[in-house]
Amino acid sequence: MYKNNKLIVLLFILILQGCDDSSSSTSTESTVGQAGSLSRFSIVDNYLYAISGKNIQLFDITTPNETVPFALVPVAFDIETLFSYNNALFIGAQNGVYIYDNSVPGNPKYISEFSHAESCDPVVISGSHAYITLRSANNCRLGVNQLDVLDVSDIYNPILKNTVVMQGPKGLGVDSTRLFVCDGIAGLKIFDLTDPILPNLIHTESDLDCYDVIANNGLLIVSDQSGLVQYQYDFLTSGISLLSSIFVE
């Protein structure tokens, strides 16, 4: 059974390099911003890639106020997310992931697909490993709740390395050795990735029931049921400290 497009089936990578090399503090100007893991939009070079039905709609944004649709790349009927990583485009679909070569921006070309991660959630990449959350929900076929760790040193051939049981994971974010996973009502889980294949749970913020996160440079931004919450984290301690909350009314 295939689900309504609305569902979040995502394989996605945080655009860590979207922030150019100025990945440091907010004082540096970035040309492209940073999205959470659930985004259906991705900006690569002078193109905006957007999931549009069964296709990826490309827009030429060289002159943003003169943006024009550029190309429509048909992929598959069940695609939900996309992300770019190292000249490749990973398109998450309910049945798996489609990998496209994106070395010529604006001209993605199909390479291969792997159907291991059949589910509803996004992916982030750190170094040569990809972290995928799979969630069972009304719309998701597999009915499992877990975190998969893939070795993507060869992006044309990702290999499953580990699976961690979760409750109902949604969005996630990664920054170096810190992995943040929204695990539904189980809370926000923080893993240490010193050994990238063995995520080590070091802290759980159980009051949170979050949708997605952005983790960058010690700042963790959480889109939570309760509102928009920000925390500070570091790579030495396991906890996080609350900076601010904007509560939903």
Partner: protein
């Protein structure tokens, strides 16, 4: 027990199959309950007018033919029986009846039932191959089997009406539309609009953006992360995603892509709108876990933003 009139029986089964297909492809659900959400496998076909009474018509016709094929009673009796069954159920859908079945009483359905009963009699009258064949019981068991079969078919006929009472599975909802004209009105920025629902997040330089799903985008000055300051809310119906490059914000608004100039973040200006570039999704604003069937969907009226009660 053998089938008295095979032609009639098989035609009846065929008509029943058409009815079943109708439910799958037009109403979007499976009366047999095998396929959970057929409208997700195949897109629904929209039909108009009298064809809404097709199920009633097909039901009467198919069961008349089936029972005639099996039992060969007086055709007039057969026809009356099935027309009556459908009329009873039609009546039960009327608000004034003693207890109501979920559904809508329409005069067209009543007409359809009579029409089907009539057509059945016409078929029998003018097609000799469908003629009534006298029942000759070969043994006492044949008699009992016949009675049992009659009961089974009657029950099947009645329960199929109940199963197809699609409003039980899918409350028929009417959509509220936002006209395309309204959707494409000049950009509005609101201030001090509270955060009601949290969606996707995006950061750009010192600014933090959060989509309030299908409503718009909240902008915060996050230079001091201990005290993010609301800078406004861009009203953008149908928004779900955000991306920013060089101070230009790209966002979806139902079927359109909007490009907003944020060079002055407190004064967002619409730079461009590309219309009709994303697929029309009538169910976008609804929770995917809810079972909703939008009745009488009319895309020309605009985008769907809610349900009317």
């Amino acid at each position: 027990m053998e089938i008295r009139n095979k032609r009639s029986f098989y035609l009846g089964c065929f008509v029943l199959l058409i009815g079943y297909t109708f439910y799958l492809f037009v109403r979007g659900f499976d009366p047999l309950g095998i396929i959970e959400n057929p409208f997700e496998i195949v897109p629904l076909i929209e039909i108009k007018g009298l064809s809404k009474s097709l199920p009633t018509f097909l039901h009467v016709l198919s069961f008349c033919l089936i029972s005639h094929g099996l039992f060969s009673y007086n055709p007039f009796l057969t026809s009356s029986f099935w027309v009556s069954i459908n009329l009873i159920f039609e009546y039960l859908q009327h608000p004034s009846s003693l207890f109501t079945l979920m559904g809508t009483f329409t005069f067209e359905d009543v007409l359809a039932a009579f029409l089907a009963g009539f057509i059945f009699l016409v078929i029998l009258k003018f097609c000799p191959k469908f003629k009534q064949v006298k029942f000759k019981p070969l043994s006492r068991w044949d008699d009992y089997l016949k009675v049992i079969a009659q009961i089974v078919i009657s029950v099947a006929g009645i329960s199929s009406i109940m199963a197809s009472s699609d409003t039980e599975h899918f409350p028929r909802e009417n959509a509220i539309y936002l006209s395309y004209e309204e959707l494409r009105r000049p950009l509005t920025i609101q201030f001090d609009r509270p955060l009601k629902n949290t969606g996707k997040i995006y950061t750009f330089n010192n600014y933090l953006f959060i989509s309030e799903p299908n409503q718009g985008i909240h902008i915060y000055d996050n230079s001091d992360t201990t005290n993010p300051i609301s800078k406004g809310f861009i009203v953008l119906p149908g928004n779900l995603d955000i991306a920013i490059k060089n101070g230009f914000l790209f966002a979806d608004s139902f079927i359109d892509l909007v490009i907003i100039d944020l060079s002055n973040p407190v004064q967002p200006i619409l730079a461009k709108r590309i219309e009709n570039v994303f697929p029309y999704d009538a169910y976008q604003v609804f929770d995917p876990e809810e079972s909703i069937y939008l009745y009488n969907l009319d895309e020309s009226k605009g985008v769907v933003i809610g349900l009317s009660k």
